[in-house]
Amino acid sequence: MSKKDAILEVIYEAIADLNDDKSEDEKVAATMDAILFGPESGLDSLDLVSLIVDVEGGASDLLDKSVSLSDDNAMDQDPVPFTSVASMLDYIMGLADEK
């Protein structure tokens, strides 16, 4: 499995865990274009925090380095990394490639 696919799997697993507690019509789509933050997102703030924490933990384990989607560097990005699945993936890929 490529690094990109492994990171995507971490994100999708976190979405699946989040969906465990949701009714069918509340579930978040596990797709690249799923919006996680902002007016178009169906997540409330606790859902988003939960998702961020799970992705940070899973990605940190995978890459064997601390991964934060909410530190100063992350919050300086436009859009912020947790805006969508695609932006999360891009940002974590960038961290993975950092020396």
Binding site: L46, S50, V53, D54, E56, G57, S60, D61, S66
Partner: protein, 241 residues
Amino acid sequence: MTDCVGSAYEDRVVVVTGSSRGVGFSIANHFLAHGAQVIGLSTASCSIESNNYTHYAVRIDESDQVLAVFRGIRKRFGAVDILINNAAVLTSQHAMIMPVSSAQDMINVNFMGAFLVAKECAKLMKKKKWGRIVNISSMAVSLEPVGDSVYAGCKAALTTISNVMAKELSAINVTCNTLGISAIKSDMLAQLPEEKIDAVIASLPIPRYANFEDISNVIDFFVSEKSSYVTAQTIYLGGVS
């Protein structure tokens, strides 16, 4: 070697900050004696010898160090059940002559350090959707003794952190409470003039020093399975209110 005297905390993973000495050392041994896996965090090494004890030498006010330690804890233990946020430093000095570096150390360790550790522990409690956070505070918050402006201020802030986190973490069944301990004979207390402590003790409704059993009794209550409806509370020892 810590003797095991019970199994009340078997299968529990307990993080204790400031475990190398004083109250934290006793708390770590208390949980070990009752079957817990204890993870101790402190800047110094620790003399506790137990197969169930893991020590990390870390500055809890350094976020990079805390993150690295908790990455290790996550790998090794998977989750954390209980946090006893005990580590603290104290400089008691009149505000007008308090060294800025001492004030900053207290803010860094007693406030930011406690927050950083609670933040990372909460993430590891989320996995099981269960947890207990006990922040160790002080009678200084209520008594506001001369010389303790920054120390008492940090401990008061710790109560606020605890109460806000209690709201944020209730959805994952994590409780956050605060134990305000009165004077207990320890290295920290030994820094203060004895007559000052004696005067404070004499003013308490129960005018004696606390002993460790007074502290462990309240900790056991806060972390009990049965205390799931007890959160955002502060208990002071010795009748301080």
